[in-house]
């Protein structure tokens, strides 16, 4: 133990570099863990944000909270007070390819409508109008249900 500490002290220039590199030494074990992971997260940030719009005004690299869609809630604009679970074409705009519900920061929906949207999407999933996440994800775009004259 004492020998390792002496070694750590004898080579102070290498120890931080080693911690940065991520080699789990005893001294830099704790720090080394979060270090590279956070770096990886930061690098992954702008790659995701560069896709939809690039993040207006905020620094490209950096925390995700700078990314903000300036859009308004579509339902508030159209003054929709009831989100119909039968309208799979509307609901599918807020659902990923794999069937997962898109988060609010991607779609710009307000909190209230996001709650109602979640309820409607889950109902639509139960009646096979939308897929459950990861199950036979949509080969065809969902279309609105139309009543047939029978």
């Amino acid at each position: 133990m004492a020998e390792e500490q002496k070694q750590g002290q004898a080579v102070p220039s290498e120890a931080p570099a080693r911690a940065e590199g991520g080699a789990p030494s005893h001294g830099g074990g704790q720090g080394g863990h979060s270090g590279p992971r956070r770096e990886g997260g930061r690098e992954g940030g702008p790659r995701r944000e560069g896709g939809p719009g690039g993040g207006p005004g905020g620094p490209r690299r950096g925390k995700r909270q700078y990314f903000r869609k300036k859009k308004v809630c579509k339902f508030c604009v159209e003054k929709m007070d009831l989100i119909d679970y039968k309208r799979a074409d509307i609901l599918s705009q807020f659902v990923q390819e794999r069937g997962k519900i898109l988060p609010r920061r991607m779609t710009g929906v307000c909190a209230r409508h996001q709650r109602w949207l979640g309820v409607a999407i889950k109902r639509a999933r139960n009646i096979a109008l939308l897929p459950f996440a990861g199950s036979a994800a949509g080969a065809t775009a969902p279309r609105a249900v139309e009543a047939h004259k029978s």
């Binding site: 007070d81 069937g99 999933r125 009646i127 096979a128």
Partner: protein
């Protein structure tokens, strides 16, 4: 006893013969009339591709009914009947009246708010309404 509104959707196997479907629908209708319920809407959405496989089928025939009743136990009876039928692979009942009530309340509130604060039209000159405070700063700006 307040009236409740329900949406009933069931999915039948694709290419089910017409008379089997008629049997299912008439069973629903009889159950409704026995318990004093009213079928408001009855639609057939045709054969749709399902979002996932149900009972090894990729397509299904969708039937939709809207039922108005005061007795909730009717739904238990309807679902029991649908469960028994072989042709029906999936069904779902949704209670709608609370949602519609909330929608109506929000719509009324919105209209009341819009009526209380009249928006002046963009083309016409501002009408001199003494009560609204917005007219005065506009006049001052002009």
């Amino acid at each position: 006893m307040e009236e409740r509104l329900y949406d009933l959707i069931f999915i039948a196997r694709p290419a089910t013969p017409e008379d089997e479907i008629k049997k299912v629908i008439s069973s629903i209708e009889h159950a409704c009339t026995d318990k004093g319920a009213k079928i408001e809407k009855s639609e057939h959405w045709g054969t749709r591709k399902l979002a996932y496989r149900v009972a090894k089928h990729r397509e299904g025939m969708y039937y939709y009914h809207q039922i108005r009743t005061t007795r909730g136990e009717l739904i238990v009876e309807l679902e029991r009947r649908l469960h028994v039928q072989d042709a029906v692979i999936k069904y779902l009942t949704i209670r709608l009246d609370e949602d519609l009530k909330r929608q109506k309340k929000l719509g009324d509130k919105r209209e009341k708010r819009a009526a209380r604060r009249p928006r002046r039209p963009a083309a016409a000159p501002p009408a001199p309404v003494p009560a609204t405070p917005t007219a005065e700063p506009q006049a001052a700006a002009n």
